[in-house]
Amino acid sequence: MSNANPLMPQMATILDIIAETPEIKTLRVSGKDGLPFDFMPGQCAMLSVLPVGEAIFSITSSPTCRDCLEFSIKKTGKVSNSLHSLEPGQQIGIRGPYGNGFPVEEMKGKDLLFIGGGIGLAPLRSLIGYCFANRDHYGQIDIVYGARSPADMIRKSEVKETWAGQPNTKVHLTVDAEFPDWKGHVGFVPTYVTELAFTPENKVAITCGPPIMIKFVLQALDKLGFAPEQVITTLEMRMKCGVGKCGRCNLGPVYVCKDGPVFSLAELNELPGEY
């Protein structure tokens, strides 16, 4: 055999399933011997449930976590619904890693501003974990995370305790509306980012969330003086192959699965906005 079929999944086992919110579960998945493959933050994997199908998900664990891959998955389509119905011990198919990942080298020495909304925290969490594991390489870290309600926040204790307890790090949480048990900030993420008045000097902003949130976050960052080169986001598209051949995830000549999913705003500005 000259090459392995790039569409052929390998076997993986679900070790554990954590219910995050009514709609989101985090699956912990391992290959035959530990990690099914090495990866970098921001990369994705195809998960298979036979005979339901295959779909692409961002890896939410940090590559520094060596015993399993984690996927925080919102019940949305056929495959995600089916993944939600599984129990620990179940074997599934996995292939990857796909995509470019975040530019961790170029980000070295910079202050980092993470802006996540809802399930959009999932890809950021991989990078956040990586940065904490390599804390000396990065400056001040600010994490803005918002959800519709306190019950819709994922990885709550990790966000509030582990992340907030890291050196030179601030966590800013917000929810869309007032809730009886919520003492924190209330308001949409883009407005909160404006209120917090982050300065762009020596900073990289990394954002992911619902398209409407991203749209207004980009406007807010622009007003705060962030240049397009300083703003990074990660896209999602329907994908079937993950290797730039099946034809559905392109923005002009660029394939989100292999050339993305991570793009700077400067790069996106040069591409057709078909996402």
């Binding site: 000259s2 079929n5 569409l7 076997m11 392109n250 057709p272």
Partner: protein
């Protein structure tokens, strides 16, 4: 090595090739000519116009199963399905072989190689057939296609005066001719003297890909798509279209995963779970198809992804073919007055 075989002996040649390989050739099937596996009694037509559907399916089948699965309790078993057949592709026109070479760039050269495609390509001996009687819909004159010669062929064949003249170009080609040694005679016909008139329908695509780079929002796109029915036939017949889908078929205990042709003309092609669709209407989908042929592919590989085979002109029910698109985008010769 230049040889010839009389057409009387072709059936014997095909029978011999089909013993050791799956032999695809242009076969009359009802009202159409299609590339199909040879079997005794099929009506092969080497003088036919381009086949109704391109021979790309020899390498990228309309559907192919690539894994079988079994589930028992929580356990899952995955078995790869591989295609190890030796293949002979006989009677491929130069335009179609050039299109296959365009697919090679995507499926073989662009990392990671698609080994399903690559293996078939490596296991295939291509006998290309020169084309002296282009279809009235053909316009290969616009592109870098010589209907009398296919540079990538293992054997280049020419039908002249009731004989098929065969020139082996590669080791695989020589091996094929050796197998048929007793059926062949030396050829003395001077192939170079043949001529063929190709059409260009007044098109001039020079500079068009570069020009289109900044024309994603061109008003042309607001009009061009309007007649499109989203039937997808253009993508099915096109020799350079290669989009595919991956689906599962089976039940909880066992089944298979296959890939099959898909089409960027279909609404669900880019429809995401949750409902969002980056190409929500026919406008975006028609633009995607023509921009891919004329600009995106060119940007990636330096060539327009069209060989002028004429199939979309022949098949589109509303004449929204690539010639119409190129004209609408200004890719026409300036008339000399």
């Amino acid at each position: 090595m230049k040889k010839m075989i009389t057409t009387d002996n072709l059936t014997e040649l095909w029978a011999r090739l089909a013993e050791e390989s799956t032999l695809y050739l242009p076969v009359q099937d009802g009202p159409m000519v299609l590339f199909q596996p040879w079997q005794e009694g099929v009506q092969v037509d080497l003088e036919a116009f381009n086949s109704a559907v391109s021979p790309k399916d020899i390498f990228l089948p309309r559907e192919e199963t690539y894994l079988n699965y079994r589930c028992s309790g929580q356990a899952l078993e995955l078995d790869a399905v591989e295609d190890d057949r030796a293949i002979t592709a006989f009677g491929i026109h130069p335009c179609d072989l050039k299109a296959i070479e365009m697919l090679d760039r995507v499926f073989i050269e662009q990392d990671p190689p698609d080994n399903l495609y690559q293996k078939r390509r490596e296991n295939t001996t291509v006998v290309a057939l020169s084309c002296t009687n282009p279809d009235p819909f053909c316009f290969c004159g616009v592109f870098d296609v010589n209907p009398l010669d296919a540079p990538g062929a293992d054997v280049m064949a020419h039908l002249v005066d009731g004989s098929l003249h065969l020139e082996a170009r590669t080791e695989k080609g020589k091996a094929l001719l050796e197998k048929a040694g007793d059926l062949l005679e030396d050829s003395t016909v001077d192939i170079a003297k043949r001529e063929v008139k190709t059409a260009d329908f007044g098109l001039n695509v020079k500079g068009l890909p570069e020009d289109l780079k900044s024309r994603f929002e061109d008003p042309v796109w607001d009009e061009l798509y309007k007649s499109c029915l989203s039937c997808g036939v253009c993508t099915y017949v096109c020799p350079t279209c290669y989009c595919f889908d991956v689906e599962d078929y089976g039940h909880e205990a066992k089944g298979e995963r296959f890939r099959c042709w898909d089409s960027c003309m279909f609404g669900h092609f880019t429809q995401m779970a949750g409902g969002h669709n980056p190409r929500p209407s026919r406008k975006e989908r028609v633009r995607q198809r023509f921009m891919h042929k004329l600009q995106y592919y060119h940007e990636a590989y330096g060539e327009i992804a069209c060989v002028g085979c004429g199939r979309c002109l022949r098949s589109c029910p509303v004449n929204l073919d690539i010639v119409q698109a190129i004209k609408a985008l200004g890719g026409e010769k300036v008339e000399q007055r």
